[in-house]
């Protein structure tokens, strides 16, 4: 074992050189040295792939092919297909939270606050079908992946606090009736807003409705707002 010094390589037989043709510094300045960007790149592509084809149907190969990186890097950064999928879930769930936290509903009257909240939820769901699809997919999987993420659970508690405050103010002002559970209210709103997006394919096919049409959207927005406010009064 002789001295302590570092190992001096003896063999230099490599067999992979052929593919490494052009690797000058100016070539691809975006890839190396910017791991965060690479991760975000993967995440964006993966979100689409999983939203489109589900967890089982989503292909790691397909994701890699649409990325600046290779399949190997997906495993380097996310460990497994499931690890990547969970990261996607965390990303999309944090998106809706970010919106909700910027509503500033305290300054509005109770009815107006509810109205605002419903419309924000409604529009967000309409404009983020990938999020809705991922939630559906995760429900098909009995939330087994979501359960593994400690992050998500904490993310979405804020909305209940907000609803609770609005309900209390409404009761104090005599405009809302008593004993409405905020979680149930959240469900009543979510159910409708989500259903429009998540079930539009079967519902639309069977009843020949195109939910993307602007006037349908307007009408649905009015319906859910109307139904909820009448329910609360």
């Amino acid at each position: 074992m002789a001295a302590t010094g570092p190992h001096v390589a003896k063999k230099q037989i490599r067999k992979r050189e052929h593919k490494r043709i052009s690797k000058s510094k100016s070539d691809s300045p975006g890839r190396r040295n910017n791991p965060e960007r690479t991760k975000q790149d993967i995440l964006t592509v993966a979100t689409k792939e999983f939203a489109r084809n589900g967890f089982t149907g989503g292909r790691v190969d397909t994701i890699a092919a649409k990325t600046r990186t290779t399949k190997r890097m997906i495993y380097y950064y996310f460990g497994s297909k499931e690890g990547l999928y969970i990261a996607v879930l965390e990303k999309v769930y944090s998106g809706i939270r970010a919106i909700e936290s910027q509503l500033y509903l305290e300054e509005l009257g109770p009815e107006e606050a509810i109205r605002q909240l419903i419309q924000t939820t409604f529009d967000y769901d309409e404009e983020h079908p990938d999020f809705i699809r991922l939630v559906s997919i995760e429900n098909i999987h009995r939330a087994e992946h979501l359960k593994k993420s400690g992050v998500i659970r904490e993310l979405n508690q804020a909305i209940i606090g907000m609803l609770s405050a609005i309900l209390q103010r409404g009761r104090a002002q005599g405009v809302f009736r008593a004993e409405i559970d905020p979680v149930d209210l959240h469900m009543l709103i979510s159910a409708f807003c989500l259903f429009r997006v998540s079930n539009r394919y079967t519902f639309g096919t069977i009843f020949r409705r195109n939910f993307s049409a602007p006037h349908v959207r307007q009408q649905h927005r009015r319906i859910i707002t109307d139904a909820v406010l009448r329910f609360l009064r």
Copy 2:
């Protein structure tokens, strides 16, 4: 190493024996000679498998293994994995139609008819999670399989006719307000009833609600009935 057959992973099934036992057609009327029963057997198993794991996640091998028949027979009778899946969809969609057609709501007052309809829908969804799951799964697939089935579209039109009649009677009696579209009303009801079942995993995980608990179920039934009736008045 025994016989020559292929590797059998988990269970050592009968299969190979019957060759010796039932040589002539008249011998065992159980399996052979009863194609309809075999088809139903396959369909029942497939419904569970697809509901549990989705279309992509569902395995033809798994279905075959849980059946009295072999994998080959699935292809013989249903042509492909998709053919089997569509047959499953047709079966479960015809189930809810059967229920709805036996309601006899014409004899009830408008409010009572709506109440009855909601509760039936609510209970049916609660008790048939496999149906709800298959609808969700089909939506993930953008209803591409459902569209290939001419049968289903016709199945679920009846409910709209029924709602339309009730609304008309309600308007005539002055208990319901005008200009409520029956399809929208169906959606308002369906959204809530379905959501409770389809999204119980993510919603339940995040907000720590157990939707299976009897008192939660009772409360939800009251909420949707209440919300719809107030909306209609």
Copy 3:
């Protein structure tokens, strides 16, 4: 769902035809229709591969390439790499058993019987280095695969019975001393015969002995026979 009849295929889009060029009956009469031969073919190749490179180092691809069949068939017949490996173990262990069972030592005097047994063991080990290697490999794996095979354990019990009988006769005739455990005796013999083969590479390298040389082999045979008989007297 219409009638009961079998499915009539609608799409016939296939994309793999190109490779299936010549598949006339006369082409390869050995492959199809003869699963047992195919299995044996795989087993023979796998024995060499695993003996050469170990369980971890052995490659399923390599085995498949050297076979008349494809990699897929290995999984069809043996279920997994481990399944194949265990089948190999069972095959080679049954080989030595077969030899031992044909010795007919009862007709010989005790000393002569022992002498015969040792020489048979010695020669078998010398001539079947693959078997010895597989045993070594299995020991590196702490016999975890061997334990999964119910067959092997029963295979090698016969030798103990034989040794026991010889020892008893020897004691009765007064040529062997008392209280020799047959399992220990089997180990004394096996240890030497096996070691020559299993450790010839390190031992040979360090002490510069070539165990394959005929005169070395003769000498070793004399040594172990001599040592055992002196031990028994």
Copy 4:
């Protein structure tokens, strides 16, 4: 999602912190600046890993994870997986030599010297299964790595010289018979002592013997001592 680093599967190791803590060389004498200690650390971990899983089965990643250092350092100090493995071999082979060189058998009578030597070998093998396993592993690899190490060959010659001297003395005193080759004698002893350890898994599984049991150990020690001495007389 926190920081940018790669996916870490099982444990969240320190690593990244030390950069901030020990900036100057004088700061923390623990890790940096002590290459010999780092090398020994790697070597100790690698010995276990290779002994447990073989050369092919041993994982560079696993070794690195259990070390104070990173995977990169293994390559820095040992050049390759094989380089590290050879270093391990050299380490363990030098261990047995060290023991043997401290026996001082010249002062004992020939029989007693042999007795002593056998028991030392027996106990050393019993207590150093990792060494035995590495020897087996190296034999599986046909000693291809050992051959690359010039060191080892010289290490283990001493034992032959010692045996030779004892045999000569024994012959001179008339207690040992003539014409016993010291290398063969070494093999007779080694075979048994090694076999007990190297083949205990398969032998133990098939014949249901637990070689770790104290009374079995005692009996085996008696057997090999007895057999060898009777062989020499």
